[in-house]
Symmetry: C2
Subunit: 311 residues, 2 copies
Amino acid sequence: MADSEGTTPTTSTPNSIRIVEVGPRDGLQNERVRLNPAERIRLIERLVDAGVREVEVGSFVHPRWIPQMAGTDEVLRGLHRQEGVAYWALVPNRRGLDNALEAGAEHVAVFVSSSETHNRRNLNRSIDESIENVREVVSDARQEGLTVRGYISTVFGCPWEGDIDFDRVLDIARELFAMGVAEISFGDTTGMGTPYQVRDGMTRALDAFGPERVALHLHDTRGLAVANALLAVEAGVTTLDASIGGMGGCPYAAGASGNVGTEDLVHLLHATGRNTGIRLEDLLGISRSLEDEHGATLRSRYHAYSRAGHS
Amino acid sequence: MADSEGTTPTTSTPNSIRIVEVGPRDGLQNERVRLNPAERIRLIERLVDAGVREVEVGSFVHPRWIPQMAGTDEVLRGLHRQEGVAYWALVPNRRGLDNALEAGAEHVAVFVSSSETHNRRNLNRSIDESIENVREVVSDARQEGLTVRGYISTVFGCPWEGDIDFDRVLDIARELFAMGVAEISFGDTTGMGTPYQVRDGMTRALDAFGPERVALHLHDTRGLAVANALLAVEAGVTTLDASIGGMGGCPYAAGASGNVGTEDLVHLLHATGRNTGIRLEDLLGISRSLEDEHGATLRSRYHAYSRAGHS
């Protein structure tokens, strides 16, 4: 199986794309399958061995809320960290940050929704209250010398509110950057984004903040993630989140496709003449292990193709 | 669930797209599930009720080779045909054409591969021999006043031969048009096509033959079908084949995704401001029946999303 089809890019858009692998956090936390900390460490190290240079390793949230993420401190401590690789940990609050610091985190992520209803359902508070909470966390994290990533959710639509005003999204982004966040990942949390909408939104974000501060986080809920990714990259986006095997997704639509699969995204990028530094063959091996050893149900297309005996 | 997200198209490309529904033939003939002629009639009539105006109803091939297509004569005879709808039947040879004529077919399709190896494996003869066979069938069909569609397979790559020379594809197309074929569906039979490759190939085909004679037949084997479709439509393609529920696919990669799902394609087109005349909600109901009543395993993304309780 050819990793890259040898196509030369026919656009003048960026040739090197940075993939932030979110499977070990955003993926696993929305799956039924449970990996213990040693298994999560193995997963992360295999992803890094495959060429991944940014990986979200877990979340410092109370295990009562997200049992899949119990032991993220062990994961972070047990990892054999490699030079040049960023290991991100999600910290929902000051206590999470303390635990992350204690476990030696150097890269942390905070989040807020751009939908008032989604934010309330997810965090039981208003967006403004969330932003004040995030402000404290970011400030403390920056004082400790950490690099902070911000997630903004539901930027291309919310299941409860429908369309989201992208001006509001950009306002929230400005607030996060003013706090000292290094980059923001704009999240199509439930896969409602459509190609021209994503292109237009990303163009506005790139114009406002520059490509080195803008990431795109896509879900394939309705089958548009790969097309959305292509148009975003053509518009100048250089950082994309993805989840190995397509793990994760929306807890409100169990059974639907989740995060865009890293295999699918890497295949798209290589097939359109872009570099990721990631070996697709190695990703397929990792996905196979997730299914065979851990019983995960994976949904990325390229993985299914590979399973059909063609890798 | 919003059928269309209200996005206005931001390109000047065609706004009306013609979908050729191939599920009842290309879909079913590659699935384990078997529908009897009465069930196939019901499927076809529901598709037409959903707004489909072109549907491939079956194949006149010996049931020894493709048992799923046994009784295509009954299907064609039993259908309540609607004004303005084209009911296509695949005819592999003169005998198939005779049977199609006897059953009252007005629209027939012929096929040839652009890969010598694929053609030999599929039809046990060379491309040139296939073309001579097709020439006889098309000539006779035209004399009977039928409209003929030509399929050319593996135009963006063959599992055995790799890359296919698109000059050769265009040469085969020219031969078919010279015989009197009305339109040609260019088939990415095993989903090897990539976005810029598909755009470039389709641009050449459109330049050579004009949009009213060019159709694109995509498979989602490696997850690129929706992105390929978007770039093809932006390049001016106005006819796309699709299969309800994503049924069908490559017999050489069982378990992988098959034909691009009609739901996924229609959602893409509506979400990018184009019309198909098809009601997505109705398609989802048909896919649900295929699963619930017939036990089909469907792979279109939008269907999976709909099954997750969001339709």
